[in-house]
């Protein structure tokens, strides 16, 4: 059972991240943005995710 939960947990973190980006993709598509605009929006979002990760690492002293 513990192994199953552990396996589920590692996949959940990955799926959770993929889900957020997939949701972002869908939101941008639903807005009717062009491919060029999606690229620009996503570039900005990458920087936001990077800064969030950096802040989390700094908060933990890394």
């Amino acid at each position: 059972m513990l192994i199953a939960i552990e396996r589920g947990a590692q996949l959940a973190v990955a799926w959770g991240s993929a889900e957020k980006v997939a949701t972002l993709f869908q939101t941008l598509i639903d807005k009717g943005l062009s491919l060029e605009q999606i690229n620009e929006e996503l570039a900005a979002h990458v920087e936001k995710s990077r800064n969030d990760a950096d802040a989390a690492l700094r908060a933990k002293g890394a």
């Binding site: 799926w15 991240s17 889900e19 491919l35 060029e36 979002h45 995710s49 690492l57 933990k60």
Partner: protein
């Protein structure tokens, strides 16, 4: 012909291809030992017993190996990892497609007859792509770009998507305590180098080098997936039960509802 021979020169690609062949041979010996084949030579096993299944195996292996080699991920792996991956693919795919072999009470089947087995193979191939489960096929085509430029820009967008997911993965993992901060910083720094590669792809695209930009973006996407898979494996080893319940409550339950949409094959 020279390109084919170049694949066999010393290096990870050669190790990968030879490991696949070795995996096939060991699977044949395993089948003989377990009485799953009545043939006495490797060639009879491949060419005479169930040739349809042999064709199916070759088609799957060529597709998988070709995609792996073209992605460029082999160059970032050590020799043992390359060998393991090649061996397990040869051994595993042959077992999935060709086993069990025909017996007196069970007539021979033609290749591609086992739909369930091929569906399992497809599921495995999707799973092998790690975090690359983003809906690239759903991206709209540009109304102003040429087909080449359009494909190039889609590759850049896909790479950005995977990079975004990878940064988010690091941040979430560190915040929930699932990823050790020092290790997280190492992965973060490596992701930064891939971020630079995507910027380079964008510059190439802007300069009109669409084909090169597409290759750069696709190669970078494969490398990000690789480091992401490494992170997953490390996470599995260091996962702590106390943190798992929290992750389960926060991540699995809301995520499970959307998995069917996320897990779509890429083009």
């Amino acid at each position: 012909m020279q390109q084919i021979l170049a694949l066999l020169e010393p290096g990870n690609t050669a190790i990968y291809l030879m490991a696949i062949v070795l995996g096939l041979y060991v699977q044949y010996q395993t089948a003989r030992t377990n009485g799953r084949t009545a043939t006495t030579t490797f060639w009879d096993y491949w060419l005479k017993e169930t040739p349809g299944m042999s064709i199916a195996t070759v088609v799957v292996l060529v597709t998988v190996a070709g995609g792996t080699i073209q992605s460029g991920m082999l160059t970032a792996m050590n020799a043992w990892a390359v060998f393991s991956m090649g061996f397990l693919k040869g051994f595993g795919f042959d077992a999935l497609i060709q086993a069990p072999a025909a017996t007196e009470s069970k007539p021979k089947q033609a290749g591609f007859a086992r739909v369930g087995m091929l569906a399992l193979l497809l599921a495995l191939m999707v799973a092998f792509s790690g975090c690359g489960l983003l809906p690239k096929t759903q991206l709209p085509d540009s109304k102003t770009l040429s087909p080449v430029a359009n494909a190039s820009l889609k590759a850049i967008v896909a790479a950005r998507g995977v990079l975004d997911a990878a940064y988010d993965f690091i941040g979430t993992g560190v915040r929930t305590g699932a990823i050790e901060p020092t290790q997280g910083r190492t992965w973060f720094n490596e992701l930064d180098t891939y971020r630079d590669k995507i910027k380079k792809a964008q510059e190439l695209y802007d300069a009109g080098g669409f084909d090169v930009a597409k290759l750069q973006a696709e190669g970078t996407e494969a490398l990000i997936k690789f480091i992401h898979d490494q992170a997953l494996e490390a996470l599995r080893k260091q996962a702590k039960p106390a943190g798992l319940v929290v992750i389960w409550q926060r991540e699995i339950q809301p995520t499970a509802r959307r998995l069917a949409w996320i897990r779509q094959p890429q083009d």
